[in-house]
Amino acid sequence: MRPRSKSDTARGRRWGFLGLLGVLLGAPGVLPTYIVHIGVFVFIDTLPVIGLGILSGYAGRVSLAQGALFGVGAYTTALLTTRLGWPALAGFVPAVCVAVLLGIVLGAPALRLAGLYFVMATIGIQQIIWIVLMNWGPVTGGSQGIRSIPAVTFGPVVVESPQAFYYLALGAALGSYLLSRRVLASRLGLELRALCDDELAARASAVSVTRAKVVAFALSAAWAGAGGFLYAHYVRYIHPEMFTLEPSILFLTMSIFGGARSLEGMLFATGILESATEYLRPLGEYRMIGYGLLLLLGMMFFPRGILSLFVRQPGTGPAAPAPAADEPAVR
């Protein structure tokens, strides 16, 4: 049997991908509505997760502010559609833009920090945004949340039911997957990987490190905002409690669980972890313990990500190594 050539693997991948896509497209016809509903959340979540993945897996920065930025996107579109009467779709661009803007304004000063200090800063950003959402009553509705957010409409078609939204969310997830692959294959992606692996060397090789970091952060914020937009128009009621540190942690674990630098891994992990709270229901009272164990044991035994079980990761770089004892706090 002749050895597998590169084009064979590529073709294998493509067929696998199309096969998966086919399964996903056909799913709503076969599965009960409740499962489709979970599927919608899985697809919505892939957006902030991919955003995080670009930031962490490729730019080597771990952010715990994604939940808040997701919320910013959701609130932007919610406010525009409920207070100003804008049609749902019109809220998309503002949702993304405000998330990016806020992300850059708050995050830029933090970007010069390395490793753990950056994480700490993002925690601060997350909490501050959340506290403002919760307490700035006149604008955000505070603890009452925002109700009756309109559904997305394409002309006469109202995208309301889980089945209908499933396709919208799937499309969005697909789009972001393909888009992020483009981005990562581009020069920017190269720059990001360079600065993750060795920032000093990257600078020396004329990589505009600061610009790359800012762009990475902006991209991750954009994806978060887009995800928030979808969430708002699906659930139709948002409340600050939905955008706490908890979802930030959830998104982070999803992006890590599948394996650093593996977009497919992240999607897979999102699928597993998002639906976990539901398929673990048979555990009854022990449901959340099961979830915690899933994370803990997963990290203990599959530090390279759960996907490494199935697919041999071609040349995945080592995940960000622990900085040496004398590494400076700021780079």
Binding site: S56, V62, L106, P109, A110, L113, G115, L116, Y117, V119, M120, A121, I123, G124, I125, Q127, I128, I131, V132, N135, L200, R203, L245, I249, L252, T253, I256, F257, A260, E285, Y286, M288, I289, Y291, G292, L293, L294, L295, L296, L297, G298, M299, M300, F301, P303, A319, A320, P321, A322, P323, A325, D326, E327, P328, A329, V330, R331
Partner: protein
């Protein structure tokens, strides 16, 4: 009124300081943040609750018993769990997050609702000037001071302590001069657990205990550690007390709703100006 607020703020600050110590100890040695720290604090409180209600442990023996038990558990968890996690930053973060979730929900199974903690430090109300407070507050502050003194002694004068410091400074070299590095790391975890658990017992009689009390305290303690310098013990203590004080003042004089904002705004500010914290010793090097 000011004085009353100050007293409350200092006491809360001491709790942040002590729990923050747990973060600091682990960070100094491993450069990692244990996201389960807040939940360890909570578990320590419940351990104390059990000992105090079932077997009527009085104050001092309660503190000692909880500290020893937590130390042992820290050692065990290091052996079984942390050792498999601390090879990589992000793995450690997600892993300890998972551990925290397990701890929190395990406790929740037994205690789904807030429970009162027995008043092991007595019920006397102390009056100091215009401030009135429970005698527990005095214990909190006194024990914090004692703890810092003990830790200082540990690190300066004992072999175990010096070994931990050596590993914190440079694990490789420490290994070459005969320090059993994995053991020292285990002891560090044990210590961080013990410290958090003691804080839990101290705070128990002041407020009700519930399975979710670790969330906010853990987060604030973390901010306190960063504020004061996450690689400096005196820094963490200072950071904690300062944070508690500023928070209480903000609640009393500015707005009680936005008081949590204080902690996080300070965090960001400190990270922007001086990432290593007030008393942290790592000098930022801009390359």
């Amino acid at each position: 009124m000011l004085w009353q607020i100050v007293v409350g703020g200092v006491a809360t600050g001491c709790i942040y300081a002590v729990v923050g110590l747990g973060f600091t100890l682990v960070y100094r040695t491993l450069r990692m943040v244990n996201f389960a720290q807040g939940h360890v604090f909570m578990a320590g409180t419940f351990l104390g609750l059990l000992l105090a209600t079932r077997w009527q442990f009085p104050a001092v023996s309660l503190l000692v018993a909880v500290a020893v038990a937590a130390y042992g558990i820290g050692l065990l968890l290091d052996r079984w769990i942390f050792r498999r996690l601390y090879h990589d930053h992000v793995v450690f973060v997600v892993g300890t997050i998972g551990l925290g979730i397990v701890l929190q929900n395990a406790v929740r199974l037994f205690f789904p609702e807030p429970v009162p903690f027995p008043k092991v430090f007595g019920e006397r109300i102390v009056v100091l000037g215009s401030a009135r407070f429970q005698v527990s507050y005095v214990w909190v502050v006194a024990l914090t001071v004692l703890l810092v003194a003990l830790l200082h002694a540990l690190f300066a004068y004992t072999r175990v302590g010096r070994a931990m410091r050596a590993v914190a400074a440079d694990p490789e070299i420490a290994g070459t001069v005969g320090v059993k590095v994995p053991r020292a790391i285990g002891q560090t975890f044990g210590l961080s657990f013990a410290v958090a658990a003691v804080a839990g017992v101290l705070i128990g009689p002041l407020y009700f205990v519930s399975f979710d009390m670790g969330d906010m305290v853990g987060l604030k303690a973390f901010c306190a550690a960063v504020l004061g310098g996450i690689n400096s013990i005196p820094g963490t203590i200072a950071g904690g007390v300062l944070l508690g004080l500023l928070e209480a003042l903000a609640a009393g004089y500015v707005s009680s709703a936005y008081k949590d904002l204080v902690a996080f705004a300070l965090l960001l500010l400190m990270l922007a100006i001086r990432p290593t914290g007030l008393l942290g010793y790592e000098t930022p090097v801009k390359v």
